[in-house]
Each structure stands twice: as C-alpha cells, then as structure tokens.
C-alpha cells in the first residue's frame, strides 16, 4: 500500500475547525457536516478541514495531543519503554503532516512540534527495525502489533511479510513434492492448487 493511500484513510479523522463563514450543513454521502457558524467551532473530517483551510475559510484547532508538553512526555515514555506505547491517535503521523503542512499559522511553536513528532516517529522506527530483525532470526510466523499505527505497519511492508514468506517457503520445502511430469518442484500451496476452506 502506498503512503498516500494510508493518508486517504487517515483523512477521515475528525478534527475541530473554526469557520470564518456562515452556511447550512453539507449533506455528504458519508454523513452531514455543519451547519457552519462564523467563530463557532465544529468537527469535520480532516480532508474537509484541509480543503477549507486552503481556501482560507477556517482556522484549524490542533488535536489535544498536538501539544508540546504532552508530546515531550510521550517521547520520554516511548524512549524508556522497550515495547511500543499506544499513540494518542491512530493516524498521528498523517494528522501531523497535513495539519502542520497547511495550518502552521494556527498552531503555536510549529517547528518544535514538528521536530518532536519526528523524534517519536524515529524512536519507533528504530524499535521496529530491531523487532523485525528479531522476528526473522527466530523465524516467528506470528507477531502482535497492537500499538503500531497504520502508517508504521505499512512502513514494514513489504519487507517483513515478504521475508517471512520466503522463510516459510524455505522451511516448508522440506515437505515439497517433486512433480515428476514437469521436471520442477512445486511447493505444497501450488501442488494442492486450491483455496482454503
């Protein structure tokens, strides 16, 4: 999956904006948004917020977690923990990129926030690398990835699943069937030629 497809899913996160205009609700297929009253905050999908912000029709209120102090604590906790801690948002990196990208003027200390989110991302990235190496060394065909966000999961794709699939292939070839007529070996999955269930 490409990162812009993960972003596509993350763009459905609801965030708070303050519109600069008045308008009746928008009746999206995916649910009504609005009504819009100038200066009255309301929640809209991220993609709507970004669109309105680009037209300078709203201010974006950063999500609760996008706060320097909270992020500092998060970073410390992530650092001191050997496993992954739960992120305040399933799409923190998408939200950070889009909101900081279009609404820097609405968010105090943007640069520091950007840096610290990048730090957290990097700490988790290096944890991911050593977990991947461990998994491969143990040839483990199962892993819990509970606290990983979708973009993080996607960042170890395709390398980790593909490497495990190759290990599985090397291992299970032990039972491979020599296909005499073709002069080639087929692995069990090919030989059964059928789907599960």
């Amino acid at each position: 999956m490409d990162p812009d497809e993960v972003e596509f899913l993350g763009e459905k996160s609801m965030i708070e904006i303050v519109p600069t205009f008045n308008s009746a609700p928008i009746y999206f297929i995916g649910g009504d948004v609005g009504p819009f009253r100038a200066s009255i905050p309301l929640r809209v999908p991220l993609w709507v917020a970004v669109h309105l912000k680009q037209q300078q029709q709203c201010k974006i209120i950063p999500p609760d977690w996008m706060d320097l102090e909270k992020l500092e604590n998060l970073k410390e906790e992530e650092k001191s923990n050997r496993s992954f801690i739960k992120m305040p948002s399933e799409h923190y990196i998408v939200e950070a990129k889009l909101i900081l990208g279009c609404a820097a003027d609405d968010i105090p200390r943007t640069d520091e926030i950007r840096t610290i989110i990048k730090d957290i991302w990097d700490i988790r990235k290096s944890k991911l690398r050593s977990s991947m190496d461990q998994m491969i060394k143990k040839s483990a065909m199962y892993a819990a990835v509970d606290n990983l966000t979708l973009m993080e999961i996607n960042s170890i794709r395709p390398l980790l699943p593909h490497a495990l699939e190759q290990i599985y292939r090397i291992k299970s070839n032990k039972r491979a069937i020599l296909n005499r007529t073709q002069g080639s070996v087929t692995t069990p999955s090919n030989a059964t030629g059928s789907f599960t269930n």
Binding site: P3, S155, T187
Partner: protein, 200 residues
C-alpha cells in the same frame, strides 16, 4: 504472481525457469542409448552408465525422480561442507551472487537430495543472518549501490521491493504534495525514444 506479492515460483515464472537452468552435477545410473551428445567431451553415440556430468537442474530433477532412477544427483560444491563452513562463519560477509545467482532457489531444489538436512539448515541460516543486511540496505537511501551486487536473486528482489516502499515513504514524509505521474512503461518508452532521437 501479483505484483504486490513476494516471489512464489509458478509454471510461467521467468525466475524459476532460469533457476532450473543452472547446471548441477550428477552421475548416470544406466546406459542411455543415443544420448551421448549430453556429454560434450565424449564422442560415443550412447551415454554410458557411470558417466559424471553437469546438467541443467530441470533435467537432473526429472532423471532423479520416479520409480526408476536414471541418474543420481550430487551436491554442487557451493552447498558442500567447505562452503557451508564459510557461510556459518559469517554469512553477511559473503558475496552470495558469486556463489550462485539463484543460491536459495537452486538450494531449495537440491536439498531434497541431501537427506541429512545440512543444505536446508544452511539456507535458513544464511537467509535469516543476512536479513539485517538487506533491511539496512533497503532503508538507507544513499547506501553504496555496489553492496546490492552481493545479493542473490531472491535477496535482490526483497531489497528492491523494500527499497521502493521506503523511497515512497520518504517522499511522502518530506514533500507537501506528490505529483501524479506518467505510467512507468509510458515514462520508459518516452525516455528510450528521446535517447534514440539523440543518437540519430
């Protein structure tokens, strides 16, 4: 095979056809009339029992199968003990590409002739030990491109897929917008055309 899935040999797979074209040693267990031409160094019409040859894997696999064996396969030297010891000592230092272009694929076929499982174990050991190398290579945008020359075909494919995904992620993290692009074949076609025009 789906473009997004990892390598899985099938009947039409170019990689599997090339891997099964690799030559591997064997010894004939029977006389084979009219097949003397399989042995380039002899001029007889028939192939004699006891002849030792290196033949393409597809032929060796076929001759070593069935109720009546025509030939007995032998281990290619890269899977024999001396080479296994080198891999056990430090698999990451090895130029696997020089061992064989299809180290894992060839090995996966060959190991069926190795009852003790040594080949199986060395394949698994080599792959799991060298994974870190491939991962670091794939994650590192500006790593030495010559390192990937030391990978076998399977590792190279893993590296390439991993590297492409990493590059896409890096672009996404850094750029504010990702442009829509011409399809890859269209793009290549245009570049080739430009080169041709310049040559003319």
């Amino acid at each position: 095979m789906l473009p997004s899935s990892s390598y899985q040999p099938n009947y039409f797979s170019i990689e599997d056809i090339l891997a099964t074209q690799e030559r591997t040693p064997c010894k004939f267990l029977q006389d084979v009339p009219r097949m003397g031409k399989l042995n380039p160094s002899a001029e007889e019409k028939d192939l004699k029992v006891g002849t030792e040859l290196e033949l393409p894997l597809w032929l060796v696999l076929d001759g070593a199968a069935g109720r009546q064996l025509i030939l007995a396969p032998e281990l290619p030297k890269i899977y024999r003990e001396a080479y296994r010891e080198i891999l056990k000592a430090d698999a990451t230092a090895i130029d696997l590409h020089k061992f064989n272009l299809y180290f894992y694929e060839l090995g996966s076929y060959i190991k069926h002739f190795d009852r003790r499982g040594d080949v199986h174990n060395i394949l698994l050991h080599t792959f799991t030990t060298r994974f870190r190398l491939i991962m670091d290579l794939a994650n590192n945008a500006d790593s030495d491109p010559t390192i990937q020359n030391k990978l076998d075909t399977l590792e190279r494919r893993l590296f390439k897929d991993g590297h492409n995904a990493r590059m896409k992620l890096n672009t996404w993290l850094l750029e504010s917008g990702i442009p829509l692009k011409a399809a890859s074949m269209v793009d290549n076609h245009r570049k080739r055309k430009r080169v041709n025009e310049e040559l003319v």
